[in-house]
Symmetry: C2
Subunit: 302 residues, 2 copies
């Protein structure tokens, strides 16, 4: 399919065209950027980033949110990203998708993406996939990261609202203060509210924010029973209403994140192309004392 046809198919909401466009973004940076050049500026879909430690129930929560927003007739795109899983992550995400009860709903589009080593392709591709879904007319995009770490934090930086998902009993304060989670959330969610310690955790989180300049909502939910999902949705909608009303700051933040992620990804991809054999030759020179590691690194990126 030509780029032009593909672009028009995506804009008409054709699922097969969208799937092809996403595959292009994953595999071909140049092709994807030609495709995206035909799409116009992003900013129609509201993007919710969902991050937090593994095992906190992010996927179940995503299912609940799909359910809630589908009831309102919104078209929902889901991107599950696993930056920490360079090789085998794809399979895990595959399971996650097969399990989803929404896989058959034509107004829900779920796609998983796994990292392929340190090429940086994931950073660039994630932002491109969001824009493709945006162009395809999805109203809401849920961007879920599976891992935890710097890369996840950067990935959700392209969102308009960030949910940080936690659960009781995993070393409460530590899991929040770790990984910079304190700084990035617009809404904090204590999932698995039926577990002992959920209330204490909410109190601890609130007190962590006291004294800081921010006071994001801290909500107790159970993705399992559905308890608290309405409140979570209300909290998301408070931000979404401002977005729909045309809030420029939210759009700017997201686009800035996309530019940064794309630049970062492109720099990594450039390095990956040159690196392996060239690094081998340079490493021999370093060991022979003919050059330094810093000079070798500079030549690698030159």
């Amino acid at each position: 399919m030509q780029v032009k046809e593909l672009a028009s198919g995506i804009k008409k909401g054709n699922r097969i065209a969208l799937a092809k466009g996403i595959t292009l973004a994953e595999n071909d940076a140049v092709g994807a950027s030609k495709l995206l050049a035909q799409m116009g500026p992003p900013g129609k879909a509201f993007v919710v980033g969902i991050t937090g430690p593994p095992g906190t129930g992010k996927s179940s929560l995503v299912d609940r949110l799909i359910e809630a927003y589908r009831r309102d007739g919104l078209r929902v795109g889901v991107i599950a990203v696993d930056p920490s899983s360079p090789i085998t992550g794809g399979a895990l995400l595959g399971d996650r998708i097969r399990m989803s009860e929404h896989a058959g709903d034509m107004n829900v589009f779920i796609r998983s993406m796994a990292s392929r080593g340190w090429s940086g392709g994931l950073s660039r591709a994630t932002s491109q996939v969001i824009r493709l879904m945006d162009a395809a007319g999805y109203d809401l995009i849920l961007l879920e990261t599976v891992g935890i770490g710097q890369a996840d934090i950067e990935v959700v930086g392209v969102s308009h609202a960030v949910l940080v998902i936690l659960m009781p009993g995993l070393g409460d304060d530590i899991q929040v203060s770790k990984a910079g989670l304190m700084e990035i959330g617009d809404i904090y969610v204590v999932n698995k509210s039926d577990l002992e310690g959920a209330d204490v955790m909410v109190v601890n989180l609130l007190s962590l924010f006291r004294g800081s300049s921010r006071s994001p909502p801290v909500l107790k939910v159970s993705a399992l029973s559905g308890e608290g999902i309405d409140k979570l949705r209300d909290a998301i909608d408070r931000i979404r209403r401002s977005f729909v009303a045309g809030d420029d700051d939210l759009r700017l933040k997201s686009v800035r994140g996309m530019i940064m992620e794309t630049a970062r990804g492109a720099a990594m991809e450039r390095l990956a192309v040159v690196s392996e054999s060239k690094a081998e030759v340079l490493a021999r020179q370093v060991l022979a004392g003919k050059t330094t590691i810093e000079a070798a690194a500079a030549r690698l990126s030159a």
Copy 2:
């Protein structure tokens, strides 16, 4: 202190000079590379990377290894890296260090390093700190990562031997196949061997490797009781003997990793310097439809 004095202090094994050199590496890329230019090629110290999911007892295991190698009279450097913790990680690592029983031993040098956002400084600095410890005459460097994720995997890529630390009961197969841990380990350690499921996990790990081209040792240990530490140490020493005997491939692998990490870090640092206000301006142009995100990203890195 002048760079020359600092360099000579470090080479004489002066702890204060080493500490100052490390701080330089953390804060001043250019200064650190001048300092390192006076150090000669790396490759005297044997570097053991230690990674795995949080909570598997990596720090206790590091304490045991320090103990074991100190009994042999080796001088041991320890670097605890938390790539997933851009802001508050330092404090956690601080606790880890205060807890160490080896903090008072003059032949043990422990240093923690936390990430500072996506500047890439950590990648570059970690490799520089290893080389400073190498120059300071440490025989063995234990490089422990606290998080789990792509960044951790890259960090341990500068090691001569990589230990992957796991424990029973955290979704056994998944924690290994996740995050590419299957590909990077030279030795797999099932810690907390007193817990139920340890034997099953060893069997599962062995079967994961069956059919692949690799068959790394899988060892059951208890950092708590000390059980199995001798065997772990034997496994490490099999690789270390080859290193001491002059194995070029091991040295090349490590130096190649250092060059790649330094190049990667330098690329990120360059981007971070230009980014914030420039990205803001570009984001406005993208939203106005005057440029694309790809073009903006290219101008950011140009």
